[in-house]
């Protein structure tokens, strides 16, 4: 069933891709092929392979239980927050929180999670910023 849904999504994706390819505005100065042809070929391959997936699906993969899915969704939310807040609060603070969260969710005790968070944040800051000179996001506190 998963494969059939996946294939249908793929077909819709191919159709959407083809429609937006057709909508590309051609410039008045174009080569013999133009900007549309290649995307249309790709859309055809995408569509045909999705169709094949619908018609001959593989065995059902093992989907995780709802709780585990929520776990992944929560991690994604944390990562998005991290990406957005990085420039606001600064690298060291944001990273310490994000790493501590991930460590906690992977089964660390509270103390260990905090240690992993601070350790990896400060460690990365020292190695990448202080030693290697990579510019990291600076918060109001300057790190």
């Amino acid at each position: 069933m998963s494969d059939r849904i996946f294939g249908v999504v793929g077909i819709l994706l191919a159709i959407g891709f083809a429609i937006s390819a057709l909508a590309i505005e051609e410039s008045f100065l174009s080569d013999a092929v133009g900007p549309k042809a290649f995307p249309l070929i790709i859309a055809a391959v995408l569509g045909l392979s999705s169709l094949a997936i619908v018609l001959r699906p593989d065995l059902e993969p093992e989907w995780p239980a709802l709780g585990r899915l929520a776990e992944i969704a929560a991690a994604v939310v944390v990562m998005i927050l991290y990406a957005q807040l990085l420039t606001v609060v600064g690298f060291v603070i944001a990273t310490a929180f994000a790493a501590a969260y991930l460590a906690w969710r992977l089964g660390s005790s509270a103390l260990e999670a905090v240690a992993v968070g601070i350790g990896s944040s400060v460690g990365i800051y020292v190695i990448f910023h202080l030693i290697l000179g990579l510019s990291l996001a600076e918060g109001p506190l300057g790190f």
Partner: protein, 512 residues
């Protein structure tokens, strides 16, 4: 003779303190990454790319660092295979079969050192193979016009699925998805924006490094979260190594095996789409058929340890041949290495050998040096790396995630790219669940633009005649190989692939 002179120049380039130090660092990190389940050659190299950039390294030093990581990971994978019975990365999965039984018999040290020597032999011969074969391939590639290049790219995609996936439709889907992602951005030939939906950040196109790190490294973090696999596989086990050097008789018995599988692995590596996993698989299978008269394979036969290790290291070297000579990588990790070259504004392919001989020969010399370093790191100092196995993944995976974020932010300095990377991470997780191979996606995003440009150039040169694509005998031949490569696995490949994939556990499925 000419080759030896070039190689000499290469050693002149590689033998600087900086390059030697980078090679040593790469070998060390690579072995660790190979040994840790959860980090393999492709995502290991991927998260180190930003490091190479921030160090401000030139093309040759960056490549030396990253290919040392690549070779190192091939060595490192065997450590957890032998000690824990869990492959550290996918190419090492066959080493479990005989390596782990050997360790159970109290011969862990012998197994580790024997496999280290086998790795060395495989990589050593493969590097010579690279030297001899790549220039020949370049001579052929110089005959290629745009139409032939288009056919070559098609060949790469169509044969890639043959071994990397159990379902041809899914690998075709993955390739199309990657190529489609590559078309996002301003069209290079006419300047019209495509699929940008008005988003300014997309005008430049998607950065393939973002895609690579997201698909390979972040999706791995999600897999670990899904299983809440936070411990270390070595927990509660005593990692006894015992004596560190194999007896001469064992080495003697394994020598023919190592030599045969080095050749076989190298050939498997050169073939498009195969990579090191296939190299170790067919090496083991062939040796088993050839020399296993007493049915000792699978119960701790030293030859069963030597075969896959020589095979996968030879294949790792072999996979560099098409990447350097044609600009078409055959495996996931060489695709990542191609991404490095492209980011450094170096176009691999036949011209690389004439325009940047320093890069090519410096790299080859560095491979020799790295191989000796790895031998030294992996036999006397193997105890150091076995400690690495004690690091639980609840500590390791957050660090992997954060280093990925830092790397991508360090390259682009934009939160938008971080969001795209998270998107790719989620996509990678879903696609892995659905058993869609990720390597064709990466290859598609990497090669999409030059594939399209070659297509358009070919057709434009011939005044809009599409038949020009199948006009020359060379391109017809490439198309024929491509079609056979796509159809053949549908007929005969299913059995081989099923066998190869049944040994793959999900968390350790870090393809190379």
């Amino acid at each position: 003779m000419e080759i030896l002179a070039s190689l000499g120049d290469g050693f002149g380039i590689a033998l600087t303190w900086q390059n030697l130090l980078l090679a040593l660092l790469g070998c060390f990190l690579g072995t660790i990454m190979g040994a840790l389940p959860g980090l393999g050659p492709s995502n290991g190299v991927a998260i180190l790319i930003p490091l190479a950039f921030t160090l401000g390294l030139g093309a040759t030093p960056s490549l030396i660092l990253l290919t040392s990581v690549y070779y190192g990971a091939m060595y490192g994978g065997r450590i957890s295979s032998i000690l824990l019975g869990i492959p550290g990365d996918e190419p090492a999965m066959m080493t479990v079969l005989d390596g782990h039984p050997m360790a159970k018999k109290g011969m862990a040290g012998e197994a580790l050192s024997l496999s280290g020597i086998a790795s060395f032999v495989g990589a050593f011969f493969a590097t010579w193979g690279l030297i001899l074969l790549a220039p020949q391939l370049v001579k052929i590639a110089l005959l290629f016009g745009p139409a032939e290049y288009f056919a070559l790219f098609a060949l790469a995609f169509m044969t890639l699925g043959g071994v990397s996936s159990t379902n041809q439709a899914k690998s075709a889907f993955a390739a199309a998805l990657g190529l489609g992602l590559a078309t996002i951005g301003v069209d290079t030939q006419t300047g019209v924006p495509r699929f940008t939906f008005g988003e300014v950040h997309l005008y430049d196109g998607l950065d393939f490094l973002v895609a690579i790190v997201g698909l390979f490294a972040l999706s791995e973090v999600f897999i670990f979260l899904e299983h809440r696999h936070g411990g270390s596989d070595a927990e509660g086990r005593k990692l006894n190594i015992g004596r560190l050097y194999p007896p001469m008789s064992m080495l003697k018995r394994c020598t023919p095996t190592m030599l045969r599988t080095s050749v076989l692995g190298f050939v498997a590596g050169v073939l498009p789409g195969a990579g090191a996993s296939l190299g170790s698989f067919i090496s083991y299978s062939m040796e088993k058929r050839l020399v296993d008269k007493d049915k000792t394979f699978g119960t701790g036969d030293p030859r069963g340890v030597a075969a896959p290790e020589a095979g996968n290291n030879a294949a790792a070297g072999g996979a560099l041949v098409p990447m350097l000579a044609l600009g078409v990588p055959g495996s996931g990790t060489t695709a990542v290495l191609l991404a490095v070259l492209l980011s450094l504004n170096i176009t691999p392919g036949p011209l690389l050998f004439s325009q940047n001989p320093d890069v090519v020969w410096g790299l080859i010399a560095a491979l020799f040096i790295a191989n000796f370093m790895l031998l030294a790191l992996n036999i006397p100092m193997v105890g150091l790396f076995t400690r690495v196995l004690m690091v639980p993944s609840r500590i390791l995976m957050p660090i992997v995630a954060m280093v990925s974020f830092v790397g991508i932010y360090g390259i682009s300095g934009s939160s938008f790219d971080l969001m795209v990377m998270i998107g790719f991470g989620v996509m990678g997780w879903v696609l892995r669940k659905l058993d869609v191979p990720l390597v064709p996606i990466i290859l598609g995003t990497l090669l999409g633009n030059s594939m399209e440009n070659n297509l358009r150039r070919a057709v434009t040169i011939d005044n809009g005649n599409w038949l020009t694509l199948v006009d020359s005998p060379l391109s017809l031949m490439l198309w024929a190989i491509a079609i056979i490569g796509f159809v053949l696995p549908l007929i005969v490949g299913a059995r081989v692939k099923a066998k190869m994939h049944e040994r793959r556990d999900e968390e350790g499925s870090i393809s190379d």
